[in-house]
Amino acid sequence: MVNRRQFLTGALLATVTVSACGSDSDEGGSEGRFSFTYLRPTWGPATYTKDGPYERALEKRANVDIEVQIIPVIDYDTKVNTILASGDIPDVIWGSGPTSATWKEAQDEGAFLPIDEYLEQYPAIREAVPESIWKLLKDENGDTYFIPNLIWPQVPFFLCYREDLFEQAGIEPMTSLDDFATVVSKVKQAFPDLVPFTMGYEWSAKEIATSFGVAMFGWEPSPDDPERLIPWFMKEPEVDLYFWLQDLHKRGLLDPDYGVNKEPNFADDKFKGGKAAMVITHWGTIAGATAQLRTVAPNGSIGVVSPLGELGGNRLVFPIDRGFYVSARMENPDGFFKFLNWTLTDGSDFRRWGIEGKTYRVKNGVKQPIPDTERDKAYQGPQIEPLSFLGPFSEKLDWDQAKLGFEAAGIPDRFEYVKGKFEEYTAKEYPDYRDPTARSETEDKKGTQLYEDYLKKVAESTISDHSVTRDDWRRAVEKWRAAGGDQIIDEVNTAQKDKSKPRYIPQ
């Protein structure tokens, strides 16, 4: 007779055997497929569901198995730092790249794979990124590790207004900084129940900053010495911008929720919900915002104020917003680069358009994306974004796609108007002169602490804290400089030989 111990041992063995068989059969289902783990941030809602139909279609076409893990972008840097600290990283991991001290250190410690040989082997990957950017990403030994996520450097934030309300009250939009407060005061008087002017955070004012003649948060040549770059908080016109905004806030012309509401989209939401008369928002959101506004104000119409004054233009952004590394411990990196190459060659059509009838339709022989709101949930953006990798720079500003967006929103006639405003804004360029790969040892070591200790208070509270004065600002900068800031400026200027105006857009 079998005793209890023998029975338990037998049961355990049987379980192990069945589990082993199970895993064999799983592998059999995707036999010969290359598999890898992938960690990335998502900008859209984090509602990705594993093994959805889009994922299965991609994996079948590319003959891969992708084990995706997503983190909402707002939490990404914090969480990925913890993952990095564990030393156990996935095969492909998104990060800030060599412009960040943390990632550069990990790169130098051998955490990631040098990719130059794969770039030679798969030219489609190399060609997707401008040569000037590849050059920028090389380390001191001439090796490349990082595959950048490219963005188009012209991302103007439009100063938008409720065209219908302005017309109704007979108010003309502002044309310069001088008449800005007057116009907003008239709006406040005419529509006391509305927030006259709102914006989400300081960065929203980057195009207004150009009217002060500066590239917001950028290093620019010092007025005394054009060969010496200085950081943003030392530029007088940029400090002027802060106190100009403080004055608007003090007079009740800027949203009182500014600086308190932590929801990143609160300003856009107020405007789209018909609760604000003016907002600063990303140029690409106009079509969607109009459609949403019309659900609460059927005659609502959004106008765009032209750049203010003669100086007004566009604060260019660095054309890289994160990117990804391949782990040095990945077993078969060639398999991954083969897949990446596929997404840019044979799989390019699938990457751009997806599945006919699900993510796009063909009308008069032309492919048109199906708006997310009309798609089955399994094919909406949140299911597709986690599976995206590298998009070529040439696809980053696509007017045809933008036009389709306006058509889908039911305002095709506004497309040319918005495109015209885009061209007005981008006519004058204000880039950050600092090469982000020009490192300063002092900055890497204690840059954050110096900012936290001396500058954070003035830099982040001047607009909403009316007690902050110019003297406070001056004292904060002096302390920062004395505590190591001057050393940072020297080291950056020494590391960066070329101090000419950078050009991010290929001519």
Partner: protein
Amino acid sequence: MTTTRPAAGSAILPGRQPQRPGRFRKKYVEIWRYRWIYAMILPTVIYFVIFAYLPMIGLQIAFKDYKVFRGMWESPWVGFEHFETMFASEKFFELIRNTLLISFYRILFGFPVPIIFALLLNEVRRMWFKRSVQTVTYFPHFLSWVVFAGIVINILGPTGLLNTLIVEAGGERVNFMTNPDLFRSVVVVTGILKEFGWGAIIYLAALSGIDPQLYEAARVDGAGKLRQIWHVTLPGLRPVMAVLLVLSLGNLLDAGFDQIFQLQNAAVLEVGDIIDTYVYRIGLLEAQFELATAVGLFKGVVGLVMIVTANHVLRRMGQRSIW
């Protein structure tokens, strides 16, 4: 000549010690006797060893230039560099001041509230009312600070409920959330509101343990309700109050990261930035884990000193202490 006869069976042989049950054997016998009781506590011991004591090995990175991919053991030693960075920071004393003040206000105003609430609730005779009040007051404890702070901002924010009422009544908007003079009060009051119901549970349990005969005796002696509370209830609660006070002193440098992180904004940094929020920004967002560990170690040591001192003082005062 008088000789002493050794007791039977206890003859001392040359080179041998007398056979008597040793302390260890006695202990062993006792443990074996209660082995199943010890077995029940074993998972807890294992839990603390794995999750509380073994991770302390990682404290070494507070003294190292931590290189993630070289690992904790291979990273070079830097001595007290991170502690020097921490103490040299201009903000350090501001952070200590804010942390201690907020914790002190929490204890001063927050400690008596659950006691008073428990005393009041203890006097309620209608069970349905008592249970309803308990449920309503416990509930906020189960909300995360993300949610509760959202509610607070919706009430006290510049366009929140209270300001809407003030403006509608013809008043001026009050910046409750951005006014440095009000911020600590907002933190302490909202913290009390969220936790007083939960905090009262332990006092209600202690109240149920007080002998009813003591109340009867007090009544016979002519004591009214307040006298009964003063002479019977509060002395009955005193041991629990002492233990909780000691434990709360151990957390003096934890002023409540979740709450302050959610309610804080740049305008109130001078009065609302605490050690934990600063360490989060410097240590975690910027991956300076060594500095974060150094600050954590400093807080741990201060907490230990506080708790040992408070325990000692309580013992000297004749109160029940933790050990």
